[in-house]
């Protein structure tokens, strides 16, 4: 892995973010709308913990959406713009570039979570506070790591298809449902709950809520330590899978010369 290429990938994704403002749709607009829907549904029962749960859910949902969309779109844009091939044949390798991009997308997801938090606080003024700020920060960082890993796997897998954009659109709502960010996994049918168990960020949502909400009842029936351990383990698996997929794809593309086939 080349740190310089990681930085370049990060910088390039940042420039693209500010040049093409439509990224604020999955980062901010969608999670904000969903958070507000949940808050209005609560109507008269709205108090501190309820608002916190809705805001945390909306924030994590935005991080999810941003990861999925940014990862898939970045490869699609490379394909459309003809920049995928130069990235793949560069000596530093595409993996480093994709890591840089995923870090940026995840960081924007964090900024989105904070923004949703701030807007909700301004609108509802319920004096939001997290139960354990240090643990909250730690679990949020771990969740970000899991999202970056997920983004890496999506980005590398989508190199195989020119339909990354539409696939990410198809994945949008199922991911919202399965993440457990707004509706707990316990409220889903049994089969859907099983899928969520394999999703690292779903454990992240549980860990973050544990750290933020006093007396939170876990979606998986476990404590914050188990949540964090599962989060770290699944994220590492995702990252390793992304690395292996990338190696295979690079080799295949170099053998067949099919990088920009469209």
């Amino acid at each position: 892995m080349s740190p310089r290429a990681v930085c370049a990938g990060f910088r390039q994704q940042a420039i693209q973010f500010f040049t093409d403002p439509q990224w604020i749709i999955p980062s901010l607009i969608t999670p904000f709308m969903f958070t507000m829907v949940m808050l209005f549904l609560y109507k008269d029962q709205m108090d501190g913990p309820v608002v916190l749960q809705a805001v945390l859910g909306g924030g994590v949902l935005g991080m999810w959406a941003n990861t999925v969309f940014a990862s898939s779109f970045s490869i699609s844009y490379d394909r459309i713009n003809g920049t995928l091939e130069p990235i793949l044949i560069s000596p530093s390798g595409a993996y480093s570039v994709l890591i840089g991009r995923s870090i940026w997308s995840t960081a924007i997801g964090l900024a989105n979570a904070l923004l949703v938090f701030a807007i909700a606080e301004l609108m509802f003024g319920t004096g939001l506070s997290v139960a354990d700020p240090a643990l909250f920060f730690l679990t949020l960082t771990l969740t970000l790591f899991s999202l970056a890993s997920m983004g890496m796997l999506i980005a590398t897998t989508f190199i195989l298809t020119r339909r990354g954009r539409i696939l990410s659109s198809i994945m949008e709502y199922p991911i919202y449902v399965l993440s457990g960010a707004m509706v707990p996994i316990t409220a889903l049918p049994e089969g859907a709950g099983m899928i969520s168990l394999a999703l690292a960020p779903a454990w992240g949502v549980d860990a973050v809520k544990h750290a933020a909400i006093d007396g939170y009842s876990s979606m998986f029936g476990v404590g914050i330590l188990e949540d964090s351990a599962m989060l770290a383990a699944l994220s590492s698996i995702l990252l390793a899978a992304a690395f292996l997929v990338m190696r295979r794809i690079e080799r295949k593309i170099l053998e067949t010369g099919s990088a920009t086939r469209y």
């Binding site: 093409d20 403002p21 439509q22 604020i24 749709i25 607009i29 969608t30 709308m33 969903f34 507000m36 829907v37 949940m38 209005f40 549904l41 609560y42 109507k43 339909r163 539409i166 696939l167 659109s169 198809i170 949008e172 709502y173 199922p174 919202y176 449902v177 707004m182 509706v183 707990p184 409220a187 889903l188």
Partner: protein, 264 residues
């Protein structure tokens, strides 16, 4: 008149061919079916989790079925000029003698078709997966509401798309307007929950009338009882379409005068 019809036929045909060349029909159908189903599932689960007695399964599911028209028709009509700009084909279109408004209206027929497919899929899901009863439904009323909703949202989409001619991208406007229905149009909870000023905004949007009218039609209301919301949708859609015609003319002239057709 014949010329206009020929333009509409040619542009709508091209749009069908273009869309299905870029996105195969199977992916297109998968996107509509999966999004329709899971959006209804997401919001009905959310409402059920919160336990608000007014946001019943029927209320939320029918609301989201109607919202699927906004998420497809309104969104894609608004994005058409912006996509042409990004693809570098706007200049070519502007060189033809055909008026841009007519060209883009022809292209938007594909979006109307998509909206009808999306709402049909959503209502089927409502019946078969969410167990919403259509036993007393007045299907003629429901069909009329769907058709009117598609047309009025196309008018709004044309208006917003016209503004998109001038912008780098209309995707943000398109998404805000397409998804704001979830919040302010009575899709997931009654409009009366909103602050007064937002209720006023809500009553300027056709989706508000569409969601209420669709629920009434599913409950068995005949078309004669739904003339008021139908009339409001027609009025708003027509006003938006007329405004869109002027907006297209204005920005088309502005782009030609400044030579900024492909400027980003």
């Amino acid at each position: 008149m014949t010329g206009t019809l020929r333009i509409l036929a040619a542009t709508s045909r091209n749009m069908f061919v273009n869309r299905f060349t870029v996105v195969p029909p199977a992916y297109w159908a998968a996107q509509i079916l999966v999004t329709s189903f899971f959006s209804m599932y997401f919001f009905s689960s959310l409402a059920s989790y919160v336990g608000n007695p007014e946001a019943t399964a029927q209320y939320v599911v029918i609301g989201n079925a109607v919202q699927s028209i906004a998420a497809t028709t309104l969104l894609s009509v608004t994005e058409i000029p912006s996509i042409e700009k990004h693809s570098g084909t706007l200049g070519g279109l502007m060189q033809t003698p055909a008026p841009l408004f007519t060209v883009f209206f022809g292209m938007s027929l594909f979006s109307i078709f998509t909206g009808i497919v999306a709402v049909s899929a959503s209502l089927s899901f409502a019946a078969f997966f969410f167990h919403i009863s259509f036993a007393g439904c007045d299907f003629a009323s429901l069909l009329a509401i769907i058709a009117m909703t598609c047309l009025s949202l196309t008018g709004m989409g044309m208006l917003l798309g016209g503004v998109g001619l001038h912008l780098r991208t209309s995707a943000i406007i398109a998404n805000v307007v397409a998804y704001i229905g979830l919040l302010i149009c009575g899709v997931n909870f009654p409009v009366s929950y909103l602050p007064g000023w937002l209720q006023t905004v809500s009553h300027c949007l056709p989706l508000t009338y569409a969601a209420d009218a669709a629920r009434a039609a599913v409950g068995g209301a005949p078309l004669s009882e739904l003339l008021q919301p139908m009339g409001m949708m027609a009025l708003i859609g027509a006003a938006a379409a007329v405004a869109a015609w002027f907006v297209f003319r204005f920005f088309e002239r502005l782009l030609r005068r400044g030579g900024r057709i492909d400027m980003f």
